[in-house]
Amino acid sequence: MAAPFDLNDDSVVVIIGTGAGGGVLANELAQKGVSVVALEAGGRYLPEDYINDEWESFGQLAWLDPRTTSGDWRVAKDFSGLPAWIVKAVGGTTVHWAGASIRFQEHEWKAKTTYGDVAGANLLDWPIDAAEMAPWYEKAETKLGVTRTGGRAGLPGSNNYKVFEAGARALGYKEVHTGRMAINSADYDDRMACQQTGFCFQGCKWGAKWSAAYTDIPRGEATGNLEVRERAHVARILHDASGKVTGVEYFDKDGTLQMQKARIVCVAGNSFESPRLLLNSASSMFPDGLANSSGQVGRNYMRHTTGSVYAVFDKPVRMWRGTTMAGIVQDEARHDPSRGFVGGYELETLSLGLPFMAAFLDPGAWGREFTSALDGYENMAGMWIVGEDMPQETNRVTLNHEVKDQYGLPVVDVHFDDHPNDVAMRNHAYRQGVAIYEAVGATRTFPTPPYPSTHNLGTNRMSENPRDGVVNKWGQAHDIANLFVSDGSQFTTGAAENPTLTIVALAIRQADHIAREMGKGAL
């Protein structure tokens, strides 16, 4: 049967969310002939709709439904209602993302074995490893057209990159380049080359950056096997007396509650909404929420150890010209406990426009110390820190029954405290970032606090043993065979790398597994 599918069609795979995980999974399954209904809370926006304006674009694309925060992280103070900066739209946060696409390092799949016991950290090895993931990474890199892989050329260096590179080389860093980016350095896969417009976070109007919104989603739909229902907010996953999931309840674009039957349900709403859905689906059979016999649903929330370093020079840089993320230093990504922490971090250039710089450089600050920094905006260069943070059981997403969303559903509270390892790593990275810019003559540097989380991971983690996590090595719930988690929430640990390439590789692999098991009649 071809799309659109009937609400009572119980042969379909229902995917919740159409971002990096869900959008790719939907297309991959559709290409294999599997019938898919993808339910997406947000609307559909394409390159012609994207806006080269930071706040206007934020209003168009960002997830703004209420959330609450707690814990000692500075985001809870600066942006108490906005713990994460993520997208609510067809294509999910791949509309916003910068495109940095790097593989995990081999040892990062085995964090517990490599780092040993770290007090207060709930470390665990992934049930998969680098060798198992290598072919899936290659498929993901080909899909995304990642530069500096598969014979694809790197992007040219922008002003922001050149300052960063010169400083990094002066410090003796060796692994310095314009990054492995899901941004075309030449025409590729029917998408044009990057025009260096500099609004990658606002949606690429040229389509030069990969996003599920205008690649995987329409291609899946073209097969006739995929129906994407936009403005469809899933409220609950339903199950039968045997404990298998049978479908989902969602609010459609008119706010009417609908029920879609399903053979398999895949949850891909990003690391806040995915556990929220499992918890909001509690029943008499599963009083603690679906797939939660381990008690790990919502726990081990990771957001990468981040921060930024901006610097002002005595001459213009104009960092906003060109790709938002324009290069990387990888030398510090290694595991080297002599630095005073386990795991490693990447340094990646970043630029913000004046409106976002005013909001994020030092939230809450005022007076001349702050404004004189912005007076130097034209002469500013910037970088972002992304490092492995420690999973902690108490860093978690819970239901906040005091606050309801527009559908009357309890929202999530996001609790996060920095682990001492995170703090030590961030301070090391601040020092190195400052040194890079001082090596090329910065007159003033700004170690800038973390923004609302863009990388949200770990809240339905993968584990070998059902006792330690929520899903197995296929992203399949330990407790419920026809329930899958398909987004970044399945990460066992975060590694130092930006997560999306790994989310995409896991989704391609999961599609392969689901189609095979369906073929065998096992699902």
Partner: protein, 174 residues
């Protein structure tokens, strides 16, 4: 806000004559604030003109940029000139003036040195009035496209074909 033109058809000279000097740059009269140096005037509807003048000065003192004219601070706070917002703003400005008087000045606007005005603001920075004004300025001031060129920021670039041929890599001093 009626920028660059006098309210109610009065000439600038007539307005100047009917108003009273407030602070270094403002003249306030009934229903208007006039900026003597920048030659613009704005009508006020719900707020007392002296309150609006104080608010503009307060905005500048929170985010002082010497290259940004008062006009843009005025635009950033003019949204408070509504009947809904006015009571809280009048009360906030009254508290600001009281704080100024507590430090030996006639009023906030009549406090000549920025350093002293900043001290007055510091005494109020934990309160909701200060935080509302400061928070609103983050977008009210910096998200005004007319302000961007003063900082060198070029804004939208898609319609110009991006920067691929317009200097994304033109740095010459490294």
């Amino acid at each position: 806000m009626s920028q660059h033109q006098s309210p109610r058809g009065l000439t600038r000279r007539e307005l100047l004559k009917s108003g009273v000097a407030a602070g270094a740059a403002f003249v306030v009269g009934s229903g208007f604030v006039l900026h003597s140096r920048e030659a613009w005037a704005m009508e006020t509807k719900a707020l007392a003109p002296a309150t609006m003048a104080t608010l503009i000065q307060m905005a500048r003192d929170i985010y002082p940029h010497d290259r940004v004219p008062d006009q843009y601070y005025a635009i950033a706070v003019k949204g408070y000139d509504t009947s809904e917002a006015a009571p809280a703003i009048e009360a906030g400005v009254a508290a600001l003036d009281a704080a100024a008087q507590g430090m030996g000045h006639a009023s906030y606007l009549a406090t000549p040195w920025e350093r002293d005005r900043v001290d007055i603001l510091r005494s109020m920075e934990g309160g909701p009035f200060f935080q509302t004004i400061r928070g609103g300025l983050v977008t009210g001031l910096y998200n005004n496209k007319e302000v961007w060129p003063i900082f060198g920021y070029e804004g939208e670039s898609y319609s110009e074909g991006g920067y691929i041929n317009r200097g994304f890599d033109d740095i010459s001093w490294l």
